[in-house]
Amino acid sequence: MNRLADRLAPWILIGLLLAGWEGACRALAIPSYRLPPPSAVAAALIANAPLLLASAWNTFAMAMIALALASFVACTIALAASLSNPLQRAVGPLAVALQVTPVVALAPLIQIWAGIDHPKAAVVALTAVVAFFPIYSGAVAGLSASDPDLERLFDLYGATPLQGLAKLRIPSAVPFLLEGHKVAVGLSLVGAVVAEFAAGSGGSQGLAWRILEAGNRLQTARMIAALVVLAMMGGALHAAFSALERRLLARWLGR
């Protein structure tokens, strides 16, 4: 009973807020370009569903391509850095510098490099920059987080550096890598939307573009409908990757 109430609680709150919103719009006769009632948003959502879903797919695809790219680059660099202390120290400040530079500020530069004809490439590159850091720092931490006593055993049994990497350091890094990727998934969606705003123009055709476009036309209901789709996609993606991480981690640790 209590668990049911717990599960329903957020939905009840959302329902109450929507009802209040709808009621206020009607009672105060707010113009719909300023604040459309939820019913108008729902209507816009249904009317534009194919377009919104196609745009959502575009944003999702760009985020996932960027995630894969960031994962590959971050893991490769972390692996190389783990084999060489000077390299690790050299890469560290650069990685941090990349992390603390706002992605919006990088957009014009990346746009020049990608070329005005390749807005999707620019978005993917900017998103990959955002997703890079959590994966890289997770990989670096994980690769140096093996049990010191296990390291001693590997020494004792005369393991080669390659054996130490393959049979101890990389397996020890798996939980950190899973965590890093989980964080990066959420960031990559945010990154994709921000990158689209900053560098997308019309060519990327993602959700951010739909929001901009509807805003320019004062189609506020469509704008909010696009936001709703974005929020739902973000929530679904986060839930899916959290569940995946939990399952993989439990499997890896044999729990």
Binding site: R152, L156, Q163, P171, G254, R255
Partner: protein
């Protein structure tokens, strides 16, 4: 028996010292030797350098001064640490097979010998279990099987039962003695339990507080495996009292 009269020394420390930067001297000068098939307990207060001495004997650390002599080669020495130190992503048998794998044995051969070693410690049925599914005592047995699978001439036990409850501790002590009676490796056994030392060892070396030096040495000529009720015999009580007195005397000495 003097040092020189021992027929074969498996390993010996001659006037070794170990200093850690910033923390000063951790061990020595310390003399120690162990002959083939002997069980020696190293007893001393926390921080006296027992574990450091063990790492020197294992060849995992080099002394700042003095000499380490080892006739047991790299592949002939095994260590069991205070925690089981198992790789959580590997099954029990895969953990036990690890030293063989690192030495280049095939997967099939490694697993077969690992299963045999697990059977020796009474875990024939748990070979596919993951460490997370094992109790503390069972995990320690897996660590013991891993140490024995290489058929070592020198077995180094670093407070292996310290984290276990009394009943499990006694059962494991008997298991170690039974395995010793079968394979006769030389065993160095670090503990801060006087009872455990007297129960396990034929020679008990008492160390001074850190930096540890030799304080006293006691021999017990007790039968192995220990007869039932051995802990209540006058021989056991007498030796335990003697070692306790030596330890108290060592602790009272100015550093």
């Amino acid at each position: 028996m003097t040092e020189g009269a021992r027929a074969v020394d498996i390993a010996a420390l001659a006037g070794v010292t170990v200093d850690y930067p910033g923390r000063g001297r951790a061990l020595g000068p310390f003399d120690f030797a162990i002959g083939a098939g002997e069980i020696v307990a190293l007893v001393g207060p926390s921080g006296c350098g027992k574990s450091t001495a063990l790492r020197l004997l294992a060849g995992l650390e080099l002394p700042g001064g003095g000499a380490v002599k080892r006739t047991a080669g790299r592949g002939e020495t095994s260590v069991v640490f205070q925690s089981p130190t198992l790789a959580p992503w590997r099954s029990a048998s895969a953990n036990v097979a690890l030293p063989l794998e690192l030495a280049g044995a095939s997967r099939g051969e490694g697993r077969a010998r690992a299963r045999a070693a697990l059977a020796q410690v009474g875990l024939a049925d748990a070979s596919e279990a993951r460490p997370a599914q094992l109790s503390g005592g069972m995990a320690m047995r897996v660590a013991l099987a891993r140490a024995l699978v290489t058929d070592p001439r020198l077995l180094l036990l670093d407070e292996p039962f310290a984290a276990l409850d009394e009943i499990t501790r006694r059962a494991l002590a008997d298991d170690v003695l039974a395995l010793w009676a079968k394979y006769r490796p030389a065993i160095v056994f670090v503990t801060h339990s006087v009872e455990e030392a007297v129960y396990m060892a034929s020679r008990i070396v008492v160390m001074t507080p850190g930096p540890g030096r030799l304080a006293a040495e006691t021999r017990t000529d007790s039968p192995a495996p220990r007869p039932k009720g051995f802990r209540t015999t006058p021989a056991f009580r007498g030796a335990a009292e003697a070692v306790s007195d030596q330890l108290a005397l060592a602790m009272a000495q100015p550093r």
